[in-house]
Symmetry: C2
Subunit: 214 residues, 2 copies
DNA sequence: CCATAATGGATAGCTCAACTATCCAAAAGA
DNA sequence: TCTTTTGGATAGTTGAGCTATCCATTATGG
């Protein structure tokens, strides 16, 4: 297909597609002439993937390029590569928060990891990220206590089991990484939205009053 | 204290504080002269709150202003106000995603809510949000099945119970709304980061190989 | 008490990300 | 043939989130 069709079928304006081509988010089409090119279903899929990661997942163009580079990497999908890819998907909008966690926060994360028997090294990216988030709670004047942390940890453990189960169902090995990225990034948004629904329900359950509030 | 001290104690540049004052994220200080004003601990707390919500929570300035307006609203903290405040904290980075969910996605959300016995009306904001996220999975070529949805729902139910428990511990009624906002917004980031750790652990648990990968 | 420095507020400017518009030569279609 | 469309290159636009400048006033040190 040509770019116009790619645009129509994906709902993305042609100039935006050209921009993605320039930025390396989308591979070039197959050249059929000096000023002509063809695009296939693969391009359409990739384009829809990019839109999902940016629009719903909230990733920046630069972040999308980074993870797609890994997804396209030719090396086999080993546990290491999977781990490295997931690790770099920091959910903080900017990603490069220069807020440094204090010693006390890092220590709490270390203790949590030990309590949960998590096999993650203290050098792992999300390890430091978690310390920073816990520090942010404290600085905002609303610290989280260890009980809540443990409860949250138990919840994400079951989430992670579902995540890994979903990946094991995938037979095409070259789709595993892409699926892991999509399910992790969009899954963050899904869990956040679902949490609002559950909060809403739990709040209604605890409130004795009539609640016909939309 | 004066603005210079407010800046130093919060780690925020003076021009940024002035910007927040203009944007209504921070109340004006108490005027002590035609070109002088005093700021108190309340301003410092509020400033740190703003930084946490933007830097770590990923909220836009406009979104922060909206939720702070509700936090500052003089009406008592009823269940309705709490629900309305939490409802409007859409986690999607932009918030105003114009991607429309299809009928099939909305129907799946309706069925999920029924299976879980959630007391949320179909007109609630997160209801439509969830349909949109599920649609995004499908369009990206990696649909979620109902089994995963149910498992995620069970996980967020326990998260929501922890959330509401934390709120019940708060005695100062005028702090409940602020705490709900902070715990919800920063909690999204915390859960996402913790999920990475749990994925990392679960992956290591399932992989027979040696994994000294950072 | 006077000179100097700092302050709060208003206004305008800057920077970056994410597009969007224009142009052009070549190719496609009528 | 001749009009339209295409892909690619280049430059321009928009909005968010700061940042810099200016000025009258106020604090402050000698």
């Amino acid at each position: 297909m040509r770019m116009a069709q790619l645009s129509e079928r994906s709902g993305t304006p042609v100039p935006t597609i050209k921009y993605y081509l320039r930025e390396g988010l989308l591979p070039r089409g197959e050249r059929t002439g000096r000023t002509q090119a063809r695009y296939g279903e693969h391009h359409l899929r990739r384009l829809r993937l990019v839109r999902a990661l940016t629009d719903v997942g909230g990733l920046s163009i630069a972040a999308v390029r980074e993870v797609l580079d890994k997804v396209d990497s030719p090396e086999p999908t080993t546990h290491q590569l999977l781990g490295r890819t997931l690790r770099d998907l920091t959910p903080t909008a900017s990603g490069d928060v220069d807020v440094q966690a204090e010693e006390v926060d890092t220590e709490r994360v270390r203790a949590l990891v030990e309590r949960r028997n998590w096999r993650v090294p203290a050098e792992a990216r999300p390890f430091a990220d978690l310390a920073e988030v816990i520090a942010a709670f404290r600085r905002a004047g609303h610290p989280v206590d260890d009980t809540a942390l443990d409860d949250y940890a138990a919840a994400v453990e079951s989430v992670a089991r579902v995540d890994l189960d979903s990946l094991e169902e995938i037979t095409e090995t070259d789709e595993i990484l892409e699926s892991a990225v999509v399910r992790t990034v969009l899954g963050d948004t899904l869990l956040a939205v679902m949490r609002r629904l559950a909060q809403f329900d739990e709040s209604a359950r605890r409130s004795p009053a009539t609640d016909d509030d939309c």
